[in-house]
Amino acid sequence: MDFVYELHKTMLQEKLILAYEGEFTQEVTKSILAMTERNMDSFGEDSGVKRKVFNVMVECLQNISKHADNLDPESGAKNNALFMIGKDEHHYFITSGNPVFTEKVPEINRKLSGINDLDKDGLKALYKEIITGSPGLSEKGGAGLGFVDMARKSGNKLQFEFETIDGRLSFFSLKNTVSRVNTKE
């Protein structure tokens, strides 16, 4: 049972306020959002910061439920992935991890690196280009705007990493940082 204490220590060390591993559905998304909102309300978090965290969380969670690839199609388990929120004195960290087919890695990598190369105006231009460019939503119901929106709303670079699971799958980790200091003024 050592892992229980180890996990507990890791959560404290990484300053996690919530971690969820499992299936991602709209119901799960709504529950995680509600829990996090309550948590932020409980210590009177700034409404602007709350909105940004909420925003990044929705895109992150819906990204997983739309795009995470199945680790084991046979088992019928859907979108087994990890989602975490951490908080220190000055930031919130919204982190996700999910398996993706290795063949998709170069494209995700290219997209994210491209986004990280852009400044505020560049991101705005890219957002407009994507929203007006495609005739409708993708087959999976996405607008192709999730990563751009995360970068715009968080105001920070997206941190990401890929690790090999096996010949077919890679593990995609993504971390968003939202500053708790109101940057408006």
Binding site: K30, G48, K128, L137, A143, K184
Partner: protein
């Protein structure tokens, strides 16, 4: 013409479309699992309304939050409104919600409809 009156839920906005009372409003949160499916009846209603629209249509967006899939559908709604003569969009945003204000400004740059901005 039939009235659309949808109550808000945790992940879908309140929507009122009432030609006789001249009420056109989308408010609250929009992050449905399937945005295209959720907004389809709204787009179809606007197609019917366009054929016999009121001389003036003041369409209010009073959104607290919308996800990126919804933003695409909001643009689709605005594109329909573009074809309805006498349309004005009233874009409401919470007074300290800079992102929502900016979202409205961006939409206004993408379509050819007069936008009015108001805080709540």
């Amino acid at each position: 013409m039939e009235v659309i009156n949808l109550e808000a839920t945790e992940d879908t906005p309140r929507i009122v479309l009432d030609k006789d009372k001249s009420l056109f409003e989308i408010s609250g949160r929009s992050l449905p699992e399937d945005s295209a499916e959720f907004y389809q009846p709204i787009l179809e209603w606007l197609d019917r309304y366009q054929k016999n629209a009121n001389p003036q249509t003041k369409f209010a967006f009073k959104l607290e939050y919308f996800n990126t899939a919804s933003s695409k559908l909001i643009l689709d709604i605005l594109s329909k409104l573009e074809d309805i003569t006498g349309t004005t969009v009233i874009w409401y945003y919470h007074e300290d919600d800079e992102d929502m204000e900016e979202a409205g400004e961006e939409f206004s740059e993408l379509v050819d409809i007069p936008f009015e901005f108001a805080t709540y």
